[in-house]
Homo-oligomer: 460 residues x 2
């Protein structure tokens, strides 16, 4: 925990309002939000709300996880709520209103001024996961026919409210962003220069309705400070700034990671420890049930091969190894492919190239593992005096399990690599076919491969 | 593929230098780098290198994956290499030199001017994964006793070279960053204002030797444009900018995801399809071998319980399910905990709270799954006329497998949650104890739990 948080906590525990306020002035809103979130007593949260002005609490509120915002907002009187909402930047305000219950959202909208309300309603209509739903409209805009002096005069009133003045967009008569200038270009140019002479062309824009992840990926790829968001007529609506992009990418990475182990649903914005037990349960138990009952298929295969197993029970020694290695290699292959698809490196049309690569990789891995297993069974196993049926040589046994291992590794690697591509081709989220699902599938194929190979090679 | 890339490719295939150059002027360097990377013929890459000036290629070079940089650089003559290296920002130059072979790195250092060489050597010494190894030194710095007019004059010569002028740091006499101003504060203030009157305090700094991930996390958490990097005497060395932070976070997320499925080593900066087969093999086969041979322990347990299995072979039907469900829940728990640790939400000291949460979750999940299994075994199984040994009631069998499932889920959830915390406590990377390792471990414990429960409940 950071030093300032410790000091704030001390002032809070002592209920020392003036000390707390003094510390809060120097603290970053991210630290205040983290402090608020750690508190467990209602009365302590009331102390923070009662001590900070609605205006200073507005930044803290924007930083809080979704699930804590409504209760925090409701600790204020309506007149304070109005003050707080007006102090928010438009994208934060939309983000907060989005997650409120319908009745509270309506109450809050009624508190806003007519202008604020109209803008907020428009942005709310775009939906939470779109570029427009995450953009800010507080950006610098200039008409094409402007001089540096006029530009500085136009921008001066914005200097405190604009989220970024590092990129100022130049609009044509149809309000389309055709260029941008950096504030430094204005600051160091002579006052009579027309902005069109010093502007750079706008190369990247994104449609209002595009997915937020697409917008964030563009910001990262092209190292942008602000990505202009446009409507269908190419008119400038707002911009996605670098800090929003970073937040979006972080959320998406956590979601990707969770999906890979079969944790369902949207990532909770609360921290692990603050998330309610039932929310954890709801997100985790679904896949456990589905995969658990699919795994009965493996058991069914094993029962069908009862005779094979019983005629050489030593086969049990390497059964879990062969089956599990398939799960591991299939999980690796699917994760690599899913990540490559998420980063835009692989399309459905690349499936043959992926298959060819993974086939060669599978064969190499399979041979390597099989040879190691063969050496171990031949050299190490005799020391333990394994019980093999009359007339069965250890070398045949060794050959059988090694072949099974090799076949299992090759097929599992291919299944792991191709199923996510197949899922995308039929418009499913490829992450659904992640490691746990692949493991369950190749458990079944592994059992079949193992016992079939044993039956044929050993003649059981 | 983007439109501009298609057009560039067409000009390239036609070997039309002037058309290519014209298109390249409007193209973003990220698109040019992606085009270069897609090319498979040596002669095509030579065309790009021969057509673009060394200066315009410098941005493209910085965007290329590590493994392609040396061969690209070597397509130029030494005098062009010098031009290219000088055109690079200092952090990109260090990043590129870091990954060259020792002899090429020396050659390139010799090409630099004395000043550039000294700076580059200093930065190289910090190491690739430190804050200083990723920082830029091209930032605005002003002494404390400066007026707005003097500041603008000092910064004017930097306007083209500085990576960011959005944050300008104010230094005291010991070169410590005590404040910052935004360019907008200079642009709109009266010329006689002292900068100390309009500066904001610097609240976040990072040590040169700190890990790059820590720096990137701070940039994200505090929504910074530039995080000042300081030495042990708190002197300003440079800054980590938002775009570097975004790149670091993306690399670390991919590495985290790969570690979670047992893919070892540093993430390749090349795309999936461009990475050589042997690099894929080297990163993937290690854990396959280790986990594969650990899985023999599961087989050993199964062999030891040969009698139990043979006296009621129906047990085989639910064996994979009980074992695999433990792997799934353990994988989920460990992933949640590892991600929460990576995001700084959990410390080692929280282990009791984590254990308590996962214990309750494990019990809830275990009961839910066990009850479902009991219902299925009692209602569905009879239709398949299962073979049970003389004198053994289906209800006892159902009770035994359900108890085993519940115990396996509870222990696996706890093992999955606590092993990563334990790993961190003994200074291991928690991600090493990720899903595949947990699965292998709880496969063994699952076998023991299953057969022991069956033996006791069924009296076998």
């Amino acid at each position: 925990m950071s030093e300032i948080k410790d000091e704030l906590l001390e002032a809070l525990k002592a209920r020392d309002g003036s000390a707390f306020l003094k510390l809060a002035e120097d603290a970053h809103y991210a630290d205040l939000a983290s402090l608020y979130q750690d508190l467990e007593e209602d009365e302590e949260r009331n102390f923070i709300v009662g001590t900070l002005s609605p205006e200073s609490f507005s930044d803290v509120l924007a930083e809080l996880p979704d699930t804590l915002r409504e209760e925090a907002l409701e600790r204020y009187q309506p007149s304070q709520q109005r003050e707080l909402l007006s102090a928010l930047s438009d994208d934060d305000r939309v983000d907060i209103l989005q997650d409120l219950s319908d009745s509270t959202q309506k109450e809050m909208l009624d508190l806003l001024s007519a202008d604020e309300e109209e803008l907020t309603r428009t942005l709310l209509n775009y939906g939470e996961h779109t570029a427009a739903g995450r953009m800010t409209t507080n950006i610098g805009r200039l008409p094409l026919e402007t001089t540096v002096k006029e530009a500085l005069n136009t921008l001066r009133p914005l200097q405190d409210s604009a989220e970024t003045l590092s990129r100022i967009f130049i609009l044509d008569e149809q309000q389309r962003p055709i260029g941008f200038i950096r504030l430094r270009d204005l600051a160091f140019a002579s006052w009579s220069t027309p902005v069109r002479d010093i502007m750079f062309p706008v190369q990247q824009t994104i449609l209002a309705t595009a997915d937020q992840e697409e917008a964030a990926t563009m910001v990262r790829k092209y190292d942008l400070l602000a990505l202009p968001v446009i409507d269908e007529s190419s008119r400038l609506l707002g911009a996605i700034t670098y800090d929003d992009a970073m937040e979006i990418l972080e959320e998406e990475s956590t979601e990707d990671i969770e999906k890979l182990v079969g944790i369902a649903g949207e990532q909770s914005e609360q921290t692990y420890l603050n998330t309610h037990l039932f929310i954890h349960l709801r997100r985790r138990v679904g896949w456990l049930l589905v995969l658990g009952f699919l795994a009965i298929a493996s058991g069914y295969v094993m029962m069908r091969f009862e005779e094979v197993l019983n005629s050489a029970f030593l086969l049990a020694l390497f059964l879990p190894m062969v089956v599990a290695t398939g799960g591991n290699t299939g999980g690796q292959a699917s994760t690599m492919v899913i990540r490559a698809m998420a980063l835009g490196e692989i399309e459905t049309s690349d499936s043959l190239r992926v298959a060819w690569k993974e086939l060669r990789l599978g064969v190499l891995q399979g041979l390597l593992l099989a040879i190691t297993l063969a050496v171990i069974t031949l050299l190490v196993l005799p020391a333990f005096r394994p019980q093999l049926p009359e007339g069965l040589a250890l070398s045949s046994f060794s050959l059988a399990v090694s072949i099974a291992l090799c076949v299992q590794v090759v097929t599992s690697t291919l299944i792991g690599a191709l199923l996510p591509i197949f899922a995308r081709a039929i418009k499913l989220d490829p992450a659904v076919i992640a490691a746990p699902a692949i493991t369950t599938i190749v458990d079944v194929t592994g059992m079949v491969i193992y016992f079939t190979t044993a039956r044929h090679v050993l003649g059981l």
